[in-house]
Symmetry: C2
Subunit: 373 residues, 2 copies
Amino acid sequence: MPGDFKVTPWEVSGEVDYDRLVRDFGTSPIDDEILERFRQYTGDLHFMLRRKIFFSHRDLGWILDRYAAGENFFLYTGRGPSGHTHLGHLIPWMFTKHLQEKFGADLYFQMTDDEKFFHDPVLSQVETLGFSYENALDVIALGFDPAKTFIFSDIEYIKTLYKIAIEVAKHVTYSTAKAVFGFDNSINIGMIFFPALQAAPSFLPSVLKKKNIPCLIPAAIDQDNYWRGIARDVAPKLGFYKPAQIHSKFMPGLGKGGKMSASQPETAIFTTDDPEVAEKKIRNSFTGGRDTIAEQKKFGANPDICPIYHYYEFMLEQDDKKLKTIYEDCKGGRLMCGDDKMHLISKLKPFLKEHQRKREEARKMIDKFMVKD
Amino acid sequence: MPGDFKVTPWEVSGEVDYDRLVRDFGTSPIDDEILERFRQYTGDLHFMLRRKIFFSHRDLGWILDRYAAGENFFLYTGRGPSGHTHLGHLIPWMFTKHLQEKFGADLYFQMTDDEKFFHDPVLSQVETLGFSYENALDVIALGFDPAKTFIFSDIEYIKTLYKIAIEVAKHVTYSTAKAVFGFDNSINIGMIFFPALQAAPSFLPSVLKKKNIPCLIPAAIDQDNYWRGIARDVAPKLGFYKPAQIHSKFMPGLGKGGKMSASQPETAIFTTDDPEVAEKKIRNSFTGGRDTIAEQKKFGANPDICPIYHYYEFMLEQDDKKLKTIYEDCKGGRLMCGDDKMHLISKLKPFLKEHQRKREEARKMIDKFMVKD
């Protein structure tokens, strides 16, 4: 039996039962049929699809139908810039980059600095706007195509976004927002309006280019409410396609259970962490190991609950065979947690160094990516 | 006993008891003491003060204190551009112009096109934005100083306004908005956010000039909620002065009771009405007259309930002696309604023609007045 868990745009806690989310949210699972269709366009499947890190979708078949019929789609994803980027945030962005490459798709990337400002009592506007730029460096560092990638801050791109958001807002009652997001009357009026702004980019290219363009949103599943409850509901009323979605799981934190969270910095590797600091976090990580080496050799360990294993799975070991070996050696008592951590560190540190190098280079390119009005 | 009446930002109906509004809203009446203080700065009192058309205020004494201490205030008023301007709208604007002249004050004039778009199910964004410009022509036609007057559309000036509005919104809960405006859950989320935008200009010059500047809002009293419940409540939390206010009565419509309303076009004179059409509306107007001329000669008529009389009082007869003569002749049975209407028409038509001429000239000047970001 799964324990209690909670998945909302503002909180993910407990051990998430993803099959139950698919049922509860009414999404479709990523199944062999849809993977087979994907393979036709992408060749070898991306490891995040093979491993069902992207596990759920809405209307992905429809997106592929449109694409097959010669109608290009665009990608829309984003980030709530309340702090520095951690590795968990990179997961959907890496996959988004893969989609951009394989389908030649434009990407609209929203920095929801206004929402983070509304949500966090102590975060100032200047701080969250600053994180919009800092987080954008991480996006750019992943290698997106500057000719096809448009990153924008809500606060700085509001003139364009507002015209779309107010069309959305006019069709969303407080009853609906309350039902979708579980608001109570103590919520501030900025948070109530914000769903209209998060819906807006689903229609932005269609407005800019004055034609209806299909939209695919790759994102972690906690953001589903915004598009299920608002964007997809309002789209037909405004004459737009409903945005399709593809949902990822959450990269686990280094603690016991729960997703990687910026609010527990010791359980998350930030892209700005000094590699030595990152190493220390890995060394201190929870694992699925036994209490003693003797026991572990005898009974094996449990990779399924182990963050170290999940770091390989989500990001740092993209070779399925090698991943399988790690899994089996762990389970079979042949791989001890100390060695496992050292091996992960040997992969993580170069990754971090390289990302940080690209991240600094990105500072020079940021004007090519950020759109303002 | 006064009959039932209703005064909200979206509806004014019934015969308004202004004394009761002062008590219910908790404002201060315009009394002799404050008028005496005004006279020190303005010389002869403006007829709208003498006649208590501006009848109520908040913190007007404080504004004059600041002014006496050498601290200039700015003026903020606005318009919901849901249609063409009628004469009733001009009342607070004319008085605002007087204040600009006498106190050398900057004026920030907000066109709340977003609110009108949210509020009216059939009004499109393009239509309301169009009325922002049409209404701005009427403002400019009144002769405001282009060097001191900043007219802006919410939709087009949102980049500047949003940064202030989100600071406000963060401090306003749905409970507060519900209590202040009487929202129920069927209200759209745009309307819920909008009060933050209507509060924003109260602080705009202080933000632009990076110092705290006192604000005086001349407006009809139906808009009081926005500033009492939102702007004045939030101001100290953001480190700004509370905006002061001076409230006008509503110019009556040409029908029996109620304010001049664009939703009953036959009861309102629009600034864009052909003077012949305006004449016809006056001819068809309700009056305070008797059923027959004989009766009227014998018993006199009732100017207090007569729109024709109120047109003189609010706008077209600024000479108190002449106004008194009209009042007394009407009451004394010496002035018949037909003659009264003809006399009003002889004042209204030149006023309208002149306003329309200036309104057309304003088209050339509009860029000097409209600010965008």
